[in-house]
Symmetry: C2
Subunit: 235 residues, 2 copies
């Protein structure tokens, strides 16, 4: 085994029926490092948890999904234990990129929406908050209409089934503070509406006094085109 | 107190943001029977559980809801203990009717969809199955398109988080068997498509070998109009 560069590449498929654990998704990632299956499997599980299992197009799931990682050793490089964590990070990065592409390519989607939660009691709680926001039709239609409707975001968070005190929630949209301590922040609605016309939107929700849990999640806007597609074909 | 007829009437309000426990709903029911609060409250709780808490327009909830029952005794009739159960049934019936009206009037809805589950291990499981079907965007868009897509129904049921063996599931649409033991039944797709154009749709799902749990649930189809409404106004 020599020392040297490793390569990683991947491809994926999705459309609707996307809220993995996992759903109508195919994903393939190839590495040329020599990594034994017993080492690669937990790396894959970790990366799936932070990428493919953190996306939603329509909240529907499917009986069909595949996520394969192959490490064929063609580079003739066997990462050391300390290097393996870098390979794991690279795997995360590639799979996150693929997962985001699935959402961006979601049925009828015009916008990729990133949801960032921080300050929750733990990562699992943060993920539940993010998932609830990601699957709210009212949030997804507000984004479609470039409507800085933070009330819908707060409401969806409140519906996540986890303890939430609105008075300890801040929300930013496209980096603009729209809600502070559960109340409207002072912002220009017209300016923000324009920023929300972009093809990437960022919703950031920060809790105070809970902990250091965090999560990122990706969803898309819900447009008439989604309805058109799914009301008009027979599977 | 004399014996005689009792009257019951009600009114309600809803639109979107409807998946009670409870959500952007107002409901008022008036009786002229003399029923003390301590007796009326559990009757109301039972009726809410089978009506207002069994509907969904978009799966979103709200911080604003009210369900009031008034019994002012104007009829000068005090039901006996045995008669109270009939009053309870009347209350159920009125509130179910009001709840169905909310769904029929849902944002962009063209169709009222009744979901009936039977044969599950208990009523709670049946309700979870029904709710999962009711909130599936793929089921709701299939109904919008009069598409007898029982696969989406089975898939949504499988996503309810309760044990489900597809081989022990039968599904009827508009009274037409479309799935038997998890497989396609022999039916005319063209005829059924026509039946699904009606403004009321019935999805019946029967489990075998589980128990006698059952539930009814109401939802509506998801149309372009819902998107149009919710992507274009600012709350």
């Amino acid at each position: 085994m020599k020392r040297g560069a490793l390569h990683i590449s991947g491809m994926t498929k999705g459309s609707g029926m996307i809220q993995p654990n996992m759903a109508t998704t195919l994903g393939f990632v190839m590495l040329d490092a020599a990594i034994p299956p017993g080492t690669l499997a937990p790396m894959l599980a970790r990366a799936v948890g932070r990428s493919y299992n953190r996306i939603s197009v329509d909240g529907d799931t499917s009986t069909n999904d595949t996520m394969l990682v192959l490490a064929n050793g063609a580079a003739n490089v066997q990462p050391s234990d300390s290097e393996l964590s870098k390979v794991g990070d690279a795997l995360n990065e590639v799979m996150e990129d693929l997962a985001r592409q699935i959402v961006r390519d979601g049925e009828g989607a015009r916008k990729l929406v990133t949801i960032e939660i921080s300050g929750s009691s733990n990562d699992d709680t943060a993920e539940r908050l993010a998932r609830s926001i990601a699957n709210s039709l009212l949030v997804k239609t507000a984004i479609a209409g470039s409507d800085p409707n933070w009330g819908r975001i707060l409401s969806a968070a409140g519906n996540a089934g986890v303890p939430l005190d609105p008075a300890k929630v801040d929300i930013d949209l496209q980096g603009v503070p729209v809600c502070r301590a559960g109340l409207a922040a002072d912002f220009s609605e017209a300016d923000l509406k324009k920023k929300l016309d972009e093809t990437e939107c960022l919703i950031r929700l920060v809790l105070h006094g809970r902990g250091t849990g965090s999560a990122r999640f990706w969803t898309c806007d819900l447009t008439e085109r989604y309805i058109e597609i799914n009301a008009s074909y027979r599977t």
